[in-house]
């Protein structure tokens, strides 16, 4: 309605100045968004319908790539199953463990600074370094972990070399780096009003009831946030799985052999590695783009959860 009323020239000029100013401030990102997000996304969609090996001209191939990936590519569903496993087990355990460590750190009175740093430190270890370190610690031959398990008379699994233990080993690596969640939960726990605990205690609530009826309702948005971002991160799970497979199999770059990701027996094979393998090892860019788009769709579905008003990620508007 306001637009229909005559606007004084001075006000119009001010508005125009403001629009130019806003554009100027946003300009780096507007370019970045167009060139590094918009364009490649459209291009990924385009290539998913093309046959392209990076050398000959791309030719239109209709739904052939889609059909190939979903029905004949033998490793697609294995990758989906592994990714699903990681999403369910790794994310759940990381959130539970992160919350547990976060609660522990808020209760520690003596040496709190030392414990906080100790718990946080592994999160900082570069993933490649951490993975190679774990591949050593958990190597079945001479690794300290199996050495200790043997001393205690416990079974000594093959960890990164055994298809049924490789994902649990990667999960342990992920739990080791739980520091980010610990800090987020710690901040949330310290924000819970103390009076609510006192009131609950007066009502005779035990530890579990205090957690269930006071702590949890207060921190549930953060738990939700941790779960959703955890799922999105796990969809991108790449470096640790690939490096663990390479180190455990002994096939690394300059050994002359090409490493097929997923060692042992495809048990660490995930969707992002599929994009890499199809695109950069087999030069089937079209099929790689199909997998990329599927990955995109799932990631955006979870991002939509974060964007809902309730999640609070959009923050207060002023």
């Amino acid at each position: 309605m306001a637009a229909l009323l005559p606007v004084p020239a001075a006000l119009r000029a001010k508005r125009r100045r403001e629009a130019v100013r806003t554009l100027a401030f946003l300009s780096p990102w507007l370019i970045g968004f167009a060139v590094f997000f918009g364009y490649p996304l459209v291009s990924t969609l385009y290539f998913s319908f093309m046959h392209y090996d990076g050398f000959a001209q791309p030719t239109f191939s209709g739904l052939k790539n889609w059909r190939y990936v979903l029905t004949s590519y033998p490793f697609f569903w294995q990758g989906v199953r592994n990714t699903l496993w990681l999403v369910v087990v790794m994310v759940t355990l990381r959130v539970v463990f992160g919350l547990g460590v976060g609660m522990l750190i808020t209760k520690i009175r003596t040496g709190a600074g030392f414990f906080r740093t100790a718990f946080y430190l592994p999160y900082l270890a570069p993933p490649v370094a951490a993975t190679i370190g774990f591949a050593f610690l958990f190597n079945p031959g001479t690794g300290p972990v199996n050495h200790l398990l043997g001393t205690l008379g416990l079974p000594q699994p093959g960890w990164f070399t055994d298809p049924s233990w490789s994902k649990p080993a990667l999960t342990l690596l992920a739990l080791w780096g739980v520091g980010d969640l610990m800090v987020i939960f710690m901040a949330a726990l310290l924000d819970v009003p103390r009076e609510q605990y006192e009131a609950a205690e007066l009502d005779g609530a035990g530890a579990w009831q205090r957690f269930r009826f006071v702590t949890y309702p207060n921190i549930s948005p953060i738990v939700m946030f941790a779960v959703v971002t955890g799922v999105i991160q796990t969809l991108q799970y790449y470096t640790q799985a690939l490096v663990a497979g390479k180190v455990a199999s002994g096939i690394i770059g300059n050994s002359g052999q090409q490493f097929e990701p997923g060692y042992p027996q495809g048990s660490t094979w995930t969707l992002p590695q599929m994009v890499y393998s199809l695109g950069f090892q087999r030069f089937d860019y079209g099929s790689a783009c199909v997998v990329a788009l599927l990955l995109f769709a799932v990631a955006m579905a979870f991002t939509a959860l974060l964007l809902r008003r309730r999640s609070g990620l959009m923050g207060a508007e002023d």
């Binding site: 990102w29 370190g133 690394i252």
Partner: protein
């Protein structure tokens, strides 16, 4: 419950109930700290074992010994003088250093506009930033690779990873915006009344106030470049002289197949800068992590 007792009774000599309460507190202290020690062992022992192995001789590293017979400090200088290692250091510093500076400079004005300007499409723009932040890098890698390699002929270098950081980084924009929201409008109004333009307000008022958030963003970006494996693998993989530490470390393991001691020394040398930097900037870092949660 002790709360039900009259205050006078508490002040007098300890009643059995008060003594029981104190004993409970002591037991609680012990239980909590015992758990803390157990958790600390879980988090720190891997570092200890890596270090101990890095100190072993070549022969001993092949055994399942936990403790080195002789402390072979020479392993570290051996790693340091491995061909390529210094080049990887230089490349990583260039990638992470330049990338951090570019990210902060390009993301700050965008975050400021998203936090403080009112304009149509602001919500959409923020949603787009969050979507970009959550995008797996593998989704757009095929066209981006073709763009950098086939059109700009920059494969075999780190430039395809550095240049985009001059155009804002979604995560940094988001984190800075969350912090800028907490700066009261009045400060900015006051600057404007004093005749500052928006750019001067940003540089003179906002930047000094947002120093902790800027420090956090810079650290995060530095670490994410330092840790990046996928980017260097795609763009620099074909050219060993452009490798970064994270990428080179893996091939170091390949070249020193049986020498776990040297590999562990190299691994710790790659971890060290990140950990040293953390000790210097711990506070900014923890604040930054908290800010990425649901706050603001």
């Amino acid at each position: 419950m002790t709360d039900a007792l009259p205050a006078a009774a508490l002040r007098a000599r300890p009643t059995p109930a008060a003594r029981a309460a104190r004993r409970r507190t002591a037991l609680h202290w012990i239980a909590v700290h015992a758990l803390g020690v157990a958790a600390a062992l879980f988090f720190l022992l891997p570092f200890v074992f890596l270090f101990l192995t890095s100190m072993m001789s070549d022969q001993q590293a092949l055994t399942s010994d936990l403790w080195p017979h002789h402390w072979a400090w020479g392993n570290y200088s051996k790693v340091w003088h491995t061909p390529g290692f210094l080049t990887w250091w230089r490349n990583t510093l260039l990638y992470a250093g330049l990338g951090t500076v570019l990210t902060v400079v390009s993301s700050l004005p965008v975050a400021y506009a998203l936090a403080k300007f009112r304009f149509r499409g602001r919500r959409i723009a923020l949603m787009a930033v969050i979507s970009m932040m959550m995008l797996p890098p593998q989704v757009v890698v095929i066209p981006m690779y073709l763009f950098w390699a086939k059109q700009l002929h920059l494969s075999g270098t780190l430039w395809p990873l550095i240049i985009p950081m001059a155009f804002g980084d979604a995560f940094s924009i988001f984190l800075l915006r969350q912090f800028l929201l907490t700066i009261p409008r009045e400060y900015l109004e006051a600057a404007r009344i004093d005749g500052c333009g928006e750019l001067r307000t940003l540089l003179r008022v906002t930047v000094p106030m947002a120093r902790p958030a800027i420090a956090a963003v810079a650290l995060f970006q530095f670490f994410s470049c330092w840790n990046d494996y996928f980017g260097p693998q795609i763009y620099a993989g074909e050219n060993e002289s452009a490798w970064t530490l994270s990428y080179g470390l893996e091939s170091f393991k390949g070249a020193h197949h049986t020498n776990w001691n040297l590999t562990m020394a190299a691994t710790l040398l790659v971890m060290a800068p990140v950990i040293v930097l953390f000790f210097f900037a711990q506070k900014a870092f923890i604040e930054g992590v908290t800010l990425t949660g649901v706050k603001g």
